[in-house]
């Protein structure tokens, strides 16, 4: 068998995934801390104040990456939800449900930091603008997915129902993205394009923005694996490997206490 396919098959095994995720997590969190710290330093100290917005532009170095992540995490959750619904892969259910609280956290940060930026820039914390309202709907969609998953006694049935809701809610993603083009909104249009030459943002501001964006991607990778490991433990609690792990950790803790 192709080694990559073989590795994917192995990854579907809960004990293998648990160990693999445990090894990968520290690297992802480490890279997130490094790129995040440097990006925030560049954003707060090195980057200049905006000629129009003044110092309040520094809020955007966290607001924009979190807004991008709120959409990215939803896309990732819906993709895993689709795989879970079609192929009934347990790990995809776990990954989809583990992504929901992280996506909700990013959406919440986006709304609060946007609101805090809006006060000095627009003179108000909130307007019922198309971009802001559709982002608020995204937060409610995340809450719906989390609530539906938690409400069911059978975790797997709950995950499938929540995956279906996640798939239906994906219609909101293009609405959020194109809202500034489709409607006349107070929220500004996009300044960062896929090709740097088309971007209307200066490099001194683009660099910290991209660094924090990369950091949030690494953070999401680490956080989703950490949550998925807990879900794997809970779902596999009757299995020998989990019992051995629980007893092993007790023995290790007892050993540490004795020394």
């Amino acid at each position: 068998m192709n080694p990559v396919l073989l590795w994917f098959h192995k990854l579907g095994s809960p004990p293998y995934f648990y160990r693999f995720a445990g090894r990968l997590m520290p690297w992802l969190f480490g890279l997130a801390a490094l790129t995040g710290a440097y990006g925030i330093y560049r954003g707060l100290v090195v980057a200049p104040a905006d000629y129009l917005q003044g110092e309040s532009v520094r809020i955007l170095y966290i607001h924009v990456p979190c807004a991008w992540m709120s959409l990215f995490v939803y896309g990732s959750m819906a993709t895993n939800g689709f795989i879970a619904l079609v192929w009934r892969i347990k790990l995809s259910e776990i990954l989809a449900m583990s992504a929901a609280p992280i996506g909700a956290a990013f959406t919440f940060i986006t709304l609060v930091t946007g609101s805090l930026w809006g006060r000095p820039a627009w003179g108000t914390y909130w307007v019922w603008d198309a971009r802001l309202t559709s982002e608020l709907v995204l937060l409610f969609l995340y809450f719906g997915v989390i609530g539906l998953y938690q409400a069911s006694e059978d975790q797997r049935a709950g995950a499938r129902a929540a995956s279906l809701l996640a798939l239906i809610g994906i219609v909101n993603l293009p609405i959020i993205h194109f809202s500034v083009k489709w409607w006349n909104t107070l929220h500004q249009g996009e300044s960062v394009k896929l090709f740097a030459a088309q971007s209307t943002i200066d490099a001194s501001m683009l660099v910290p923005l991209l660094l924090v964006t990369i950091a949030t991607k690494f953070y999401f990778g680490g956080a989703v694996l950490a949550r998925a490991r807990v879900a794997v433990l809970a779902q596999e609690s009757g299995k020998d490997w989990v019992r051995a792990l629980a007893l092993g950790e007790t023995a290790a803790a007892a050993g540490e206490a004795r020394t």
């Binding site: 925030i40 809020i59 979190c66 956290a105 930091t113 805090l116 000095p120 956080a223 609690s237 007893l247």
Partner: protein
Amino acid sequence: MNATPYIIASYVVFFGVLAIDLAAPLIGKHRALQRIRQQLRRARAKAQRA
């Protein structure tokens, strides 16, 4: 308008929410392992009584 309080509040929210998000799986893992150990202890006690 002085933007400094808004900048500070934004970064506090950012780090605060991410810290809570990071702590949740750590607490969850501890609780899950504790629950499994409790189940094992109960099963062992039941077997001894039998």
